[in-house]
């Protein structure tokens, strides 16, 4: 399906997603429904805007003092009995996780949702090294069985229809063919995954928040899969980006009030678990991952993206995401926030993403930590052009535009030529080569330019 030799672009992947119009409409409406639930939840909190402001301020303070907060966190975590690891990049993170698994001679492990491990492509790495890792979040398990990455950071299989999930479970879990009842399918997954929980000696989790003052990590789930995994395993590995730090326990009051209301419109996730000290006899490892974050910290323009708490509100509100689907972003974190994070990892590969936006600003308006997402999208476009990563065709056209717009004689000539062409030979512009003609009618050409009209009506006086 996807050609590997040509670079993936959001525009072409979105185009193939848009071939099935009904499905796109369904996808669009489902996500808008979640956005509306978020609104209802937020509107019930009169101090909502104050919460967003405070959350953003707490994160500014964290980023300005990250060195101090991280070292304090490390000290407290070690004191609690955890082992703390540091990874410069995805590769080192994966090696650390594998070495812990190998030390315990484990070959079947369970993992709850962690966007960081998606960013690091941990599953593929572990599989290559003979470790069977099972994603235990239902949505993640579904995309894992289908051999796909998640298409949304909170709702991994939002692009799947229940009939397709029924068929997938029929093939992999032996459920009766044709049964697509969500209650039944969830029950089947529960049974299937319960055996995995009971037989895994190592459990990996992500981290929503890490409290510097106490060295504890907080993990939020609705399904209870993180807790069930960790509490039945001999070893807990918590993987986190270094930006997940918050100063104090009391700050959780702010972030937990914002997180789930922004994500799904629930007042809080079913479980918000605070892992401080491992059980007697249990090992707890915390892997702190940089992977480009410390570089981003230096940039006044792009630093604030590190405030993200991965709620997904910007996905659900984005008119482009809703109509193009998560996979068109060809990166672990899709949507508006992914479009400002990904170029920081690889500006060449993700040079298309900042353009996958209308710059309407809705993402910034719903962001619970007030990241200036749409401003950063715009700034990335400039950065990408400056570094020579914009598409060739666009660069050539921009240079021609620059030439014409900066020479009045050329401008007038081009205008008059354009009006004539559009009037007498519309097929020159009304064709598939012209990207503006896609899904649009070209406008009627005006009989004269504004300059001509002005000269005529003002007797040539300036």
């Amino acid at each position: 399906m996807r050609k590997t030799e040509t670079p993936l672009s959001h525009a072409s992947l979105a185009e193939s997603f848009n071939k099935d119009e009904q499905r796109v409409n369904w996808h669009d409406q489902t996500l808008w429904f979640i956005r509306e639930k978020r609104d209802k939840a937020a509107w019930q909190i009169p101090e909502w805007e104050q919460l967003r402001e405070v959350a953003s301020t707490i994160k500014s303070n964290v980023l300005a003092n990250l060195h101090e907060y991280l070292t304090a966190f490390e000290k407290a975590a070690i004191n609690n009995g955890a082992v703390v690891h540091w990874a410069e990049n995805a590769e080192e993170h994966n090696k650390i996780v594998l070495s812990i698994i190998q030390k315990h001679k484990a070959s079947n492990i369970v993992k709850s949702k962690s966007m960081l491990t998606e960013e690091c492509h941990l599953n593929a790495f572990l599989a290559k090294n003979g470790v069977d890792v099972v994603d235990t979040d239902l949505g993640e398990r579904i995309v894992q069985l289908a051999n796909e990455p998640p298409s949304h950071i909170v709702l991994p299989c939002i692009h799947w229809k229940k009939e397709e999930i029924g068929e997938l479970f029929h093939q992999h879990l032996g459920t009766p063919k044709g049964n697509a009842d969500p209650q039944f399918l969830t029950g089947a997954a529960r049974k299937h995954l319960r055996t995995k929980f009971l037989s895994s000696s190592v459990a990996i989790t992500g981290v929503n928040f890490a409290v510097s003052e106490t060295g504890e990590v907080v993990v939020c789930t609705n399904e209870g899969n993180a807790d069930l995994g960790v509490q039945l395993a001999d070893v807990h590995i918590a993987c986190m980006g270094i930006e997940k730090i918050i100063p104090k326990r009391r700050d959780l009051g702010v972030f937990l009030r914002l997180l789930t209301r922004s994500a799904t419109g629930q007042p809080i996730t079913t479980y918000s678990s605070h892992f401080k000290t491992p059980r007697k006899g249990q090992e707890m490892h915390i892997v702190l991952v940089d992977n480009g974050r410390s570089q981003r910290l230096a940039s006044d323009d792009f630093r604030n993206a590190l405030k993200c708490i991965r709620c997904g509100a910007c996905f659900n509100t984005c008119p482009v995401y809703r109509r193009s689907g998560g996979h068109s972003y060809h990166t672990a974190v899709a949507g508006p926030i992914g479009s400002i994070l990904s170029p920081g990892w690889d500006i060449k590969k993700y040079s298309d993403l900042p353009s996958a936006s209308t710059l309407c600003g809705s993402c910034s308006n719903v962001c619970p930590v007030k990241i200036d997402i749409h401003d950063q999208l715009y700034k990335w476009r400039q950065e990408i052009t400056k570094k020579g990563n914009s598409p060739k065709q666009k660069t050539i056209l921009m240079n021609i535009m620059n030439l014409i717009l900066s020479h009045p004689v050329l401008f007038n000539l081009a205008g008059s030529f354009g009006r004539k062409v559009m009037k007498w030979a519309p097929s020159v512009v009304n064709n598939r080569i012209n990207p503006w003609y896609k899904q649009r009618e070209m406008p009627e050409p005006p009989p004269q330019s504004f300059t001509e009209w002005y000269k005529k009506n003002n007797n040539g006086k300036p």
Binding site: T30, P182, G187
Partner: protein, 200 residues
């Protein structure tokens, strides 16, 4: 160790030097007038059942009525019903009903705070099929901020907020109760203290 040094050195060099002071905030939520009613309404909305009991002795009646003919019921309320902990969490996989005591409850979101001391085994609140949490009426607070003013000075090794039965809506946004953890959550609000003050 080299990575640790590299990362921390880079952070020290790159972190902004503007003086972003630690947020010293005080959030003023609208006060909830009837905490118990708000707590009950929130719990019902997130798929839990709520009952009020006058004393812990009523627990037995409740269990017999709500889970008739059920043998695998386990009650652990420190100071009231004590139990020996089994060797590991796996030993609790067939428990149908676990009755535990919550430390604190939050009216705005229906979350109940419970720490390892009250769990018997850390796996129990997650591996049992039906969870019952007993909450003292006086332990219900307004918002999470109020909860953390207690939690921030509390000693625990592991603690969790539980808000409702385990759930998922991953299949076409259809809400299903009972994902991996308990299929039901029942909250018993204990009013014994109130009754005592009534008699005073």
């Amino acid at each position: 160790m080299e990575s640790r040094k590299n990362i921390l050195d880079r952070i020290k060099q790159n972190q902004p030097h503007q003086n972003f002071v630690q947020a010293n905030y005080f959030i003023h939520p609208i006060l909830i007038s009837n905490l118990v009613e708000k707590f009950k309404a929130t719990l019902t909305a997130i798929g839990a059942s709520v009952f009020e009991i006058a004393t812990l002795e009523e627990l037995n009646h409740f269990t017999i009525n709500s889970f008739p003919n059920c043998d695998d019921v386990l009650t652990y309320i420190p100071g009231h019903v004590e139990l020996e902990r089994k060797s590991n969490g796996h030993a609790y996989q067939n428990i149908k009903v676990a009755i535990l005591k919550g430390d604190l409850a939050v009216a705005e979101n229906g979350a109940i705070w419970i720490t390892d001391k009250n769990m018997l085994d850390r796996a129990l609140p997650f591996i049992c099929e039906n969870l019952v949490l007993v909450v003292d009426q006086n332990d219900i607070v307004q918002t999470l901020h109020d909860a953390y003013s207690t939690i921030e000075i509390a000693e625990y090794k592991y603690g969790t907020f539980i808000a409702g039965p385990s759930k998922t809506a991953d299949i076409e946004q259809s809400l299903v109760l009972g994902a991996h953890g308990p299929k039901t959550l029942t909250v018993l609000i204990q009013k014994s203290d109130l009754i005592r003050t009534d008699h005073d």
